[in-house]
């Protein structure tokens, strides 16, 4: 892959395998992420969509070195950070942050809002102007009037407010890259959009790059332009969100898009065309194309033996299917 000059973070053939130790035998591996490559430009969002167990969260954490990658490279701002020691990671830790799914467990219940935001500053040796920074970041995430919130404990806040605090905590060190791991899926429907808009606004304001991890394709286009669809540890399709929804190429993406209902009263009269089965166990992924067992178009020969590569179809669209050409309607 060519290192594009504009990308802030570039992931090359990243693999995260978790060994399962067995007595007196070779360990077997859970291949959570198995050869994933992508890049994110400065100020851009890449959405990673997949079902549970597809490896999307592991991928996000590996990008932050919260989980050690087994192989592959992570290049941040032109610098390979894959093998840096914890000491050398300090500056990366400041610049790359994470926002979690569950605003109930992502805040220390013993810290007030102020304390929670002060903590990263203390740890990173910021001594001057802490409270100015905290007030500013709380205004950024629209927890206003700030005075009303600074001395509250997490349990006194609603889910949406808590998630704003978590966002503020990620922002306070002025990061350039944020992994947002399902930031809205635990929130009430009525506040989800608010948070997504807020993230987008902050991105414009500070030029932050996001890796937006979600299982809900429907929310992607409100936050991101580019999407990568993951299945069993691999990216099966990548490209512009609108063209992927309008014209999914990979059979898995097709099934995924088909399975999602839009609120429409006519839905109840029709049956959805869906594929059977469930994602494979990551300990024991099928040989060949990982989707072939559930794929309605599997040829039962090539698909069983040969693992399809992620091929470029122009306009940023890349698909990992032997028969991708057949599915392109032109």
């Amino acid at each position: 892959m060519i290192l594009s000059a504009n990308s802030l973070i570039e992931v090359q053939d990243l693999k995260v395998w978790f060994p399962i130790k067995r007595f007196l035998r070779e360990p077997i591996f859970v291949k959570a992420v198995d050869g994933v490559s992508f890049n994110i430009a400065r100020g851009e969002t890449l959405a990673v969509v997949g079902e549970s167990g597809s490896g999307k969260t592991t991928l996000g954490k590996a990008c932050l070195r919260l989980i050690e990658p087994t192989s592959g490279r992570i290049i941040y701002d032109g610098k390979d950070i894959t093998r840096l020691s914890n000491e050398e990671l300090r500056s990366y830790r400041r610049e790359a942050q994470i926002i979690y799914q569950d605003p109930f467990s992502s805040l220390n219940p013993f810290f007030t809002v102020y304390r929670a935001l002060e903590e990263p500053l203390i740890i990173n040796g910021v001594k001057k102007g802490r409270s100015e920074q905290i007030y500013k970041v709380l205004e950024d995430v629209k927890l206003t009037p700030v005075e009303e919130f600074v001395n509250k404990y997490p349990h006194m806040l609603s889910g949406g407010q808590r998630q704003r605090v978590a966002i503020a905590r990620a922002l306070i060190l002025r990061p350039r890259f944020i992994v947002a791991d399902e930031p809205v899926s635990m929130l009430d429907v009525s506040v989800r959009v608010e948070i997504l808009y807020l993230l987008k606004e902050l991105q414009h304001k500070y030029g932050i790059s996001f890796l937006y991890i979600t299982h809900d394709i429907a929310t992607v286009k409100y936050f991101s332009d580019r999407i990568a669809v993951m299945y069993a540890g691999k990216i099966v399709e990548m490209g512009n969100i609108r063209s992927i929804i309008a014209e999914p190429i990979h059979p898995y993406t097709q099934a995924l898009v088909e399975a999602i209902p839009d609120p429409d009263p006519r839905n109840r009269f029709v049956e959805r065309k869906v594929i059977p089965g469930e994602p494979p166990n990551p300990i024991n992924v099928p040989l060949g194309c990982r989707f072939h067992l559930r794929c309605p178009y599997s040829d039962r020969r090539r698909c069983l033996k040969e693992e399809p590569e992620l091929r470029d179809f122009g306009d940023g669209r890349r698909v990992a299917c032997h028969y991708a050409e057949q599915f392109i309607k032109r």
């Binding site: 919260l66 994470i98 979690y100 467990s105 219940p109 013993f110 740890i123 990173n124 404990y153 060190l173």
Partner: protein, 460 residues
């Protein structure tokens, strides 16, 4: 209120449940009582407890005075006729060169039972005196108690016990044609009416007088007296066989029991939790080591070791505390805290802290340990009773602190003093009741806290 939820829930749980309020109020009363008594008892109890001289003005084995409420025949309290209560006149016969000192002590006796003992103390400020002691009943019967020479200094005449006194009494009674059988004791004879049958002797109520006439040679010679008519009831908790006021022992024992229980519980709970948390958070060899040590510690027989140590070395209560804490540095809570930490470690705010660069030590102290606080507190409160019991049990076995009056020590004294055999119920029941009350009150608070710690007991 702006406090972390854990604390709010704990205080709520205690203050909003009947059990919690009950337990807390008992403990508060106990604390107030023991601090007040520390002010009211104007002497060093720990120092004087084993000094028999200090307690000699108290009756032996007296019942608590509140038993009179339930009795028809009121038992006597101790009456002390001291120096000032004596009318004193002295004169010096220059011709004979004799100094006369006359002391007349009057007291009224209004009880339906006899006193337990009589004692007269004479402070003789002379080289040698000749003394005659007389006893005047309200009925007018006049008895000579004793006649003879006394040396200077403090002379204690134990009226109830001294054979000589008894002979004098018998002698003088004969003159009034009152015969007394040999088995009757002086304190009974001296207060008895002259009912000839003597089957059911009752004391004569009224004003008695003790008259002491002393003769010596020096005009400056002086004699003072103190008459102690020991009662049969004393104080709020009675006395023991060494005349000690059990109430003083009980209230003095309260802060000892509370502080022993609390310190032991506090130290063991916090140490165990900390070590368990440490074990889980650092993992690897540290975890393995701590867990194996805990396993060994948990199968060590705690009480036998403690008893052995107590027998070999006579230990005071604070050494005992130290040993108890030392023997339970690892324990059940270590295991529980470890598993709780493993669970807390999966929470995202821990990983978030790693992601913004917090050190491992910082995360352990600021992010994990506070979360274990509710559990530690509940565990502590619940283990206070067992340490109070432990101290009492060791004292009962005679292995506790030999000097300090603790509840367990009082029970131990009662046991060796034959309280069980002789039915001296107050001596055993009162300290036992206090031990049980303390245990129950902590257990109640623990019960209330359990609702916070144990999610199964929690209602939405």
């Amino acid at each position: 209120m702006n406090v972390p939820r854990e604390f709010q829930e704990m205080t709520n749980a205690i203050l909003r449940s009947k059990a919690g309020i009950f337990g807390l109020s008992i403990i508060i009363i106990m604390i107030i009582l023991s601090t007040l008594v520390l002010i009211y008892v104007p002497f060093n109890v720990a120092k004087e407890w084993n000094n028999p001289m200090f307690w000699q003005r108290n009756p032996r084995l007296a019942l608590p005075n509140w038993v009179n409420i339930f009795l028809e025949k009121k038992l006597p309290e101790t009456i002390i006729v001291a120096n000032e209560s004596f009318r004193k006149y002295s004169y010096y016969l220059e011709t004979a060169g004799l100094k006369y000192n006359v002391l007349e002590g009057k007291f009224s006796y209004e009880y339906q039972d006899f006193p337990s003992e009589l004692r007269l103390i004479l402070y003789v400020d002379a080289e040698r005196i000749l003394v005659e002691i007389k006893w005047l009943q309200p009925s007018g019967i006049n008895v000579t108690l004793w006649k003879g020479f006394l040396k200077g200094g403090l002379n204690s005449i134990y009226i109830s016990r001294e054979k000589e006194v008894y002979e004098y009494i018998e002698d003088s009674l004969k003159r009034f044609n009152i015969s007394s059988s040999m088995i009757m004791r002086p304190e009974i004879i001296l207060f008895m009416d002259n009912n000839p049958s003597h089957v059911n002797p009752t004391p004569v109520n009224g004003v008695y007088m003790l008259k002491i006439v002393s003769i010596s040679s020096n005009p400056m010679d002086n004699v003072d007296a103190e008459l102690i008519i020991y009662g049969k009831v004393f104080g709020l908790a009675g006395t023991d066989d060494k005349r000690r006021d059990i109430f003083v022992g009980l209230v003095w024992g309260a802060p000892i029991a509370l502080s022993f229980g609390l310190i032991a519980a506090l130290a063991t709970s916090f140490l165990q939790t900390f070590i368990g948390s440490l074990s889980a958070w650092y993992g690897g060899l540290i975890d393995e080591f701590i867990q194996r040590v805990t396993d060994v510690y948990m199968i060590l027989p705690f009480l036998p070791i403690l008893i052995t140590i107590s027998i070999v070395y006579r230990i005071d209560i604070w050494t005992l505390l130290f040993i108890v804490v030392g023997l339970s540095v690892f324990g059940g809570a270590t295991k529980t805290a470890r598993s709780m930490t493993l669970q807390i470690m999966t929470e995202q705010y821990i990983e978030a802290a790693i992601s913004y660069g917090a050190s491992r030590k910082r995360i352990l102290f600021l992010y994990i340990l506070p979360r274990l606080l509710p559990y530690t507190m509940a565990n502590m409160v619940l283990s206070v009773p067992s340490y109070v019991f432990l101290e009492a049990a060791l004292s009962v076995l005679g292995l506790g602190d030999p000097m300090m009056p603790t509840w367990g020590k009082i029970i131990s004294d009662a046991y060796s003093g034959g309280a069980v055999v002789h039915g001296l119920w107050w001596w055993i029941l009162l300290p036992s009741a206090l031990i049980i009350l303390t245990a129950i009150s902590f257990a109640f608070i623990g019960l209330a806290l359990d609702k916070v710690v144990n999610p199964r007991l929690r209602e939405r």
